[in-house]
């Protein structure tokens, strides 16, 4: 299937919109499974976009730009991966294999965008000295440009010039590599899950990991069913910790104010 120019424009806009919406209203939240699905709709094949996005999603579950850290940009990866999975006719696994390196390389542009915004910060500071409120507003909203363009320009270029390269790859790609990448597509979610388990206090909650695994592996309970049992366990835990903290308050009186300053959490 040949990509149409209006599709390229729409997908370029999607990349711009995706990152800015993530920073603003946060409904699509820059998540590959959501953005990939939209890219699939634009390409007229939602399911492929959904599968590419969902697999990339598993690589970054629960991972965000905490404290301003840059993370692989699988949102942009999901757009590019979806497009080439559909245009090449090679299917979702091929798209995933392309999207992973794209997502990893895009980190550099995320850093560039975050750096570029220092420029607008300085302009805002200058505008404050002059009490130029229009310039303050203008330079605040201009901050969207480094964010949006750092995603939109690479997507535009990859969609314009990428298809020849992708054709070349498909023509010369040996079977062992193609099949190997397809196997990798199945295994990669394990990496995302392991990264997530490193984030979460897994060792303290290992029994719940086992409960969830048992329900899915042995009883074949679907995910929503597992979530319902998890929710039930969560409510029990919440009620118990609520009872405990009431006791603590009774003992300590009301000393909440001080511990606000030296909170136990670090950003």
């Amino acid at each position: 299937m040949q990509i149409q120019f209006w599709q390229i424009l729409l997908l370029t806009f999607l990349a711009f919109f995706g990152i800015c919406e993530n920073l603003m209203t946060n409904i699509c939240a820059g998540q590959p499974v959501i953005i990939g699905t939209i890219a699939g709709i634009i390409m007229g094949d939602m399911t492929t976009g959904l599968v590419v996005g969902a697999t990339l999603q598993l690589l970054m579950l629960g991972i965000g730009t905490y404290g301003g850290a840059s993370i692989p940009d699988y949102m942009t990866g999901s757009i590019v991966g979806t497009v080439f999975a559909i245009t090449s006719g090679q299917g979702a696994e091929f798209g995933i294999a392309l999207a992973v390196p794209v997502g990893l390389l895009m980190v550099q542009l995320d850093i560039l965008a975050r750096f570029s915004n220092v420029f607008f910060q300085n302009r805002i500071e200058k505008a404050v000295d002059k009490l130029d409120f229009k310039a303050i507003a203008r330079n605040t909203w201009m901050g969207a440009l480094p964010w949006g363009l750092s995603r939109a320009i690479p997507v535009f270029l990859m969609l314009i010039f990428g298809s020849d390269l992708v054709d070349l790859i498909i023509k010369y790609l040996p079977d062992w590599l193609m099949g190997g990448l397809s196997v990798a597509g199945g295994l990669l979610p394990a990496v995302g899950i392991a990264i997530l388990l490193r984030y979460l206090p897994t060792k303290d909650y290992i029994s719940y990991l086992m409960i969830g695994f048992f329900l899915a592996a042995y009883l074949a309970v679907p995910m929503v069913g597992v979530a319902i049992i998890g929710l039930a366990l969560a409510i029990i835990s919440f009620k118990q910790s609520g009872a405990q903290s009431q006791n603590v308050v009774a003992v300590n009186g009301n000393s909440g104010q001080e511990d606000l300053v030296d909170g136990e959490f670090e950003d």
């Binding site: 209203t25 946060n26 409904i27 699509c28 939240a29 499974v33 699905t37 939602m46 399911t47 996005g53 969902a54 999603q57 598993l58 629960g62 991972i63 905490y66 301003g68 692989p72 975050r114 910060q121 805002i124 500071e125 404050v128 303050i136 605040t140 901050g143 062992w176 099949g179 990798a184 199945g186 295994l187 990669l188 979610p189 394990a190 990496v191 899950i193 990264i195 388990l197 490193r198 979460l200 897994t202 990991l209 409960i211 969830g212 695994f213 048992f214 329900l215 899915a216 592996a217 995910m223 597992v226 979530a227 835990s237 919440f238 910790s241 609520g242 909440g256 606000l260 909170g263 950003d267």
Partner: protein, 270 residues
Amino acid sequence: MENLKINQQVITDEDIKKVSWRWIMASQITWNYEKMMAPGYFYAMLPVLRKLYTKEDELKDMMHNHLQFFNTTPHMGGFILGIDMATEESEGIKGKEAVNGIKTGLMGPFAGVGDTIVGVLIGTIFGSIAAYMGVNGNPTGVVLWMVVQALLMVGRYFTVGMSYKQGMKMVTSTRDRLNAITQAATLLGITVVGALIASVIRVNVAASFVSGEVTVAGQDVLDQIMPKLLPVLLVAGVYTLLGKKNMTSTKAILIVMVVSIILYAIGFLA
């Protein structure tokens, strides 16, 4: 903090709406390495600042004051803005030190709780459901996640007004409650991840064992030991790998890709 509002109230509901909306739209759009969310916080506070400080030098002073380093979870910043507004309304320019104390004192703890709940836990729970349904071609989970994110945004819109009206006490009690919620949600998240291990990792063993006349498919042997044995071992392996020094998630991804290609090439996996 209780009898804060001795001074005449000048901040109206209109102002609160303006601040809430500006915080949603602009809090991160000028995020930068130097002062992170500072321009966003400043831009959200600007309508209130212009109203409270009528003298030019005071206004400039406080404007620059709000352009100092700030960073927290976007979903939690509204609580801090509300307290800040109430303090500045009653104290005026004299409250500058107090305001800076509130901002720097609250942004860290709120980021800790906020990143955990909004980023890690909601992302884990609803991301898992969306991805699990998604790999099977079902978009329901995607829609569900978007609905949850939209509800979060609506809730976030009201945080500024809530904390402006109820003050520090409400912020403290919210944080206590959030700690209990964090614990409960962590438990739920980890349960879901356990199920995820069993359902989204695809490993097909192509190799088979030959002993004399009998050929046994490798996958069948493994399934008899435990269903989904290889996904469990794989996750455990990568988990251990990530604990090693100098190991990054990018390296782990590349290692898994290379190993997949090798195992496919020798005919062990398909």
